[in-house]
Subunit: 352 residues, 4 copies
Amino acid sequence: MQMREFELPDPQPGALLVDITAAGVCGSDVHIWAGKDPRTRLPMILGHEGVGRIRMLNGPKRDLFGEELKVGDKIVWHRGVTCGRCVYCAKRREPSLCLYRKVYGTMYSCDQWPYLTGNYAEVLYVHPQSEIMKLPEDCDDGLIAAATCSGATAAHTIELLDITMGSTVVIIGPGPLGLYTAAYCFERGAAQVFIFGTAADIPRLQLAESFGCIPVNVDEVGPDERRQAVLDATHGLGADYVIECTGVKACAQEAVDLACRGGSVAIPGIAVPVGEMSILPFEQIAVRNLRLQGVWVSDARHMYEAVTLTLSGKYPLQEMITHRFPLSQANEALQAIATRQAIKAIIEPQAK
Amino acid sequence: MQMREFELPDPQPGALLVDITAAGVCGSDVHIWAGKDPRTRLPMILGHEGVGRIRMLNGPKRDLFGEELKVGDKIVWHRGVTCGRCVYCAKRREPSLCLYRKVYGTMYSCDQWPYLTGNYAEVLYVHPQSEIMKLPEDCDDGLIAAATCSGATAAHTIELLDITMGSTVVIIGPGPLGLYTAAYCFERGAAQVFIFGTAADIPRLQLAESFGCIPVNVDEVGPDERRQAVLDATHGLGADYVIECTGVKACAQEAVDLACRGGSVAIPGIAVPVGEMSILPFEQIAVRNLRLQGVWVSDARHMYEAVTLTLSGKYPLQEMITHRFPLSQANEALQAIATRQAIKAIIEPQAK
Amino acid sequence: MQMREFELPDPQPGALLVDITAAGVCGSDVHIWAGKDPRTRLPMILGHEGVGRIRMLNGPKRDLFGEELKVGDKIVWHRGVTCGRCVYCAKRREPSLCLYRKVYGTMYSCDQWPYLTGNYAEVLYVHPQSEIMKLPEDCDDGLIAAATCSGATAAHTIELLDITMGSTVVIIGPGPLGLYTAAYCFERGAAQVFIFGTAADIPRLQLAESFGCIPVNVDEVGPDERRQAVLDATHGLGADYVIECTGVKACAQEAVDLACRGGSVAIPGIAVPVGEMSILPFEQIAVRNLRLQGVWVSDARHMYEAVTLTLSGKYPLQEMITHRFPLSQANEALQAIATRQAIKAIIEPQAK
Amino acid sequence: MQMREFELPDPQPGALLVDITAAGVCGSDVHIWAGKDPRTRLPMILGHEGVGRIRMLNGPKRDLFGEELKVGDKIVWHRGVTCGRCVYCAKRREPSLCLYRKVYGTMYSCDQWPYLTGNYAEVLYVHPQSEIMKLPEDCDDGLIAAATCSGATAAHTIELLDITMGSTVVIIGPGPLGLYTAAYCFERGAAQVFIFGTAADIPRLQLAESFGCIPVNVDEVGPDERRQAVLDATHGLGADYVIECTGVKACAQEAVDLACRGGSVAIPGIAVPVGEMSILPFEQIAVRNLRLQGVWVSDARHMYEAVTLTLSGKYPLQEMITHRFPLSQANEALQAIATRQAIKAIIEPQAK
């Protein structure tokens, strides 16, 4: 990545130019950076998680709630740009699967108008169809940026699983996705939330514990032992829901074995190819009446839920933000995530 | 209403000009015609139910399923024009309640660009955000036009009530809304569908009977007697669902009394003010764990469901179309509905 | 009420004798006491909310989770005795509406075997079909007794409304039902929970505020002003859910006006006849796509949810228990509720 | 299997003795007969699908709808005997997963009281907790017996998948499970139902076609070709639901590949161990937001739905019953199923 200057495009009616105040660095940015994401169209500006202030607008513009927007307002927008009118948007009401979905900082090239299509930049062009929420002046922009991706995907997971009150959940992986998922499980009334991580994850496990989770260090507690811990906590039945948030195939295997009969397993962490996985369709799925659910990205509802939860301050999510960088150090920001030094890193383009 | 000539507007990118082949005449058109709908903005072109052929398009355009559209294609479009990005569209996923919803032939004035905003016309301007379905060459355009309004509202009702298999339903009112609702109840596996109408409704009741309904002529079968018939058919419990499709307040009262404990009552027929209605919150609602559900208009999913059901040919819905008129006789078409001579009347602007 | 001695009945297979440690005094006990509940069959032992220790069992017996029960175990049981095999229990899966439901302390006479059928007693006969949960030694038995009625009915309300994350709720009435409902709203991720009470309710409003609610003293904040407060907090839309927990008809009227389009209003507080209520079916229900939902009692799932929430200690629900009485002062306990001196009163039959 | 005489047990209160008029022969009976089902406790009386007439009852007894039963009534009962009070019955409301579920003709030994525990017999002992439906005099008892197993499991599948109106379904396997599933898909408003079978299944495929299905002979139409047929019928998207009803692992693999993004795959046909199956968690599940759902047996609601659908006569389900045998030829009946000569075989113990 290198710094490059662009001329500012003129916004179409309903579009905005936004001064980016915070851009989140996501694990999938590292994949793109490493050239492993087939959706990438070079040259490009990275960054699908962003918050900013309106610099220019063309005509009257309203946010999700009908509030009129004006220059200087701090806003957040949905990272996916959807058509709103295809079978997935309008008939199935699953805009996360829109036939024409594109994502800022992922599927746009900066060679094509309107160029400023990623959040690792001083200015972003926000398309007319992007859903927008106005933000309070006193929020942490970097944390809200983080909410729009892992927070929203966690919300999508929770919606698909339809978590019931008083249930037991196991979350595998205490990164931003797992931590947001844990917070939501409590928001839906889960009674017990186990979270599994490695010795390297201890700060993350401690953060999860502060939410109310039961942390399990898998480097200390072996597979049989941790399975037994879940059984002991559930009268021998297993967890109602198991959510794989690491992207590691072996964890998805373990997830299936931790669920109770009638339970559900979701795999939002599987975000890149991991090869084949073996299941026993009778013993693991059929006789256990089990549900295995894929989760792909999220939509504007999920962004709303993630931003609202984050703004509520009910969970110390801000402790996830361990690193902040100016735009000039975007490579270092990616490095911090790639090496897992940071739980979450933020780029602040307006920082001096 | 009188004939008036307009110059054709140039479609914006994504908009269409359509040659109307059929426009449905709806009960609410009669209300507007009579000056009773406060949303009316005169002068205007009536008609929110339409089917037509593409006359002109500006740029590539796709239907709900991603099929590319071209001049000459026969299409149907959603009668409501929604923003796709507000709290109702994007967060609650209830675009029928969109903050900015407008309806062709109802809430647009023909004094303002793009003028051609109602279906009682030779040409309609279809906005870029309208959801579109391509139609087969051999369908009955008038019947599809009817599907987009009463058929879609019926589908919305069914979605809200979540009809279960093996259930008993009472539908009050065998007009197009009631007839579509009856068809859907069978489509959701209802075991018994009563339909109530007056002596004047006998042809409608006979049509409903041909779907599998149990018709009840309320001019012959009094309130106690018909309530007893429902109880006898339900082991004394009452109907699982009761759906008021007449718009008459007394029918809504009766609906509440026909439902079983735990049952649901919907009132999609109440489409204009009818004054006050008295309920007993303890005896009729609380102790019976009853649900009373308002139903307001519909969205593109419902249009899809209504059009798909209609095209399936499973129910002889075409028998609802009792009257067809050329555009020059639009006043006569409204009269046929106002006097209840017609079950459903269609205006065919291309007819010579 | 007066003290009376009974011989202990022999439990049938699967039945239990339980030494009552705590019996909750409910508003509906006051109704029965006052002779206003038509279900009453005199002579009777009052008390449908209870916790106790197993005194005698006949044959092996397991709790909800398959844990074997033994003499001395502290347990709680579902207050409703349901058949498990009728259309409501087995087909509709709404055992709260069971065709044969009876309730301890409400619908049994102590003149008929097994006599000990109410919780205002030293010993209760628990029927074989009662669902049972084992309790930890260190819980507050009186608080758990309270959970089984108002806590469970609140859980039923929440299940019927299907509260969504990030929503706004208004609860009218800060008694035990309203307070439990408020706690559940947070458990389901509501973002804002208003709670309305009178000047006499100030301690209750303060308790609700400690949960996170926005308290509104209706003796200080008039109808228009509090409606405006709800609109201001919801971008002018109104509350997603409004829950009437007072049993006062005027509050149900107000509830309807506070809901947003597409919103839901539940009336679990309406537990005795209150006469007629007037609604505008078009303006208040139809055009607003509103749902009005009756809520009648609760089932074993709801008891589980209420007991689990209470044991979690997440909300200071124990502060509701303002009064405790020995069995000999049962009349005083009822008086404390009738005069609204107590938020919740508990009778402790084992107290010396 | 051999004929053996038993003394009739005295029914407990609420239990019944029933003269079996029809017992269905199920594929899993063949498994038990072949000694392949680990739940089997020899000696035993086979047969979990039954219909009969009441021979003796002990005390008043009511059916699902509260109708009083008497000697001579023709009835059907739920094949699973559930406790009604455990976490699955009472909290999760999934009695099909009851902790203590037993099945007539499968998990009872005839060495233990009440001996008469299978339907391949002249008399069955029906436990007090069995859910019961009264049948009309003129129904086909054998067909109703069939409904209680494959019909009910199909209903469970449909409930779990929550089939939407206008959807496209692929069913793999046109046996009784697949045929009932097809009928239900139409009952829930599916627009297109493909059904796959082999050349040997042609009579079954023809029966499915008479319901409205699109039959596919997989011996003539290869994997790529039939996948293309599904894509062509769905605008290139794939099927909304794919339901595996053969029990063949390769079919489950194929099922996953036929579903659209956001679609669901259920595997009710997998009823015995089939070894390992390989899936690609990213490509097949995650990125497609796919749901893979196990389905295990069924409950009384599903029996109700299956019996109600069957009695409606809407689908020529009686054509599934290709073979009928007297009790003395029970071995031949099993043979007819084992060799797949019969679609469905019935034993009629009262036949002379």
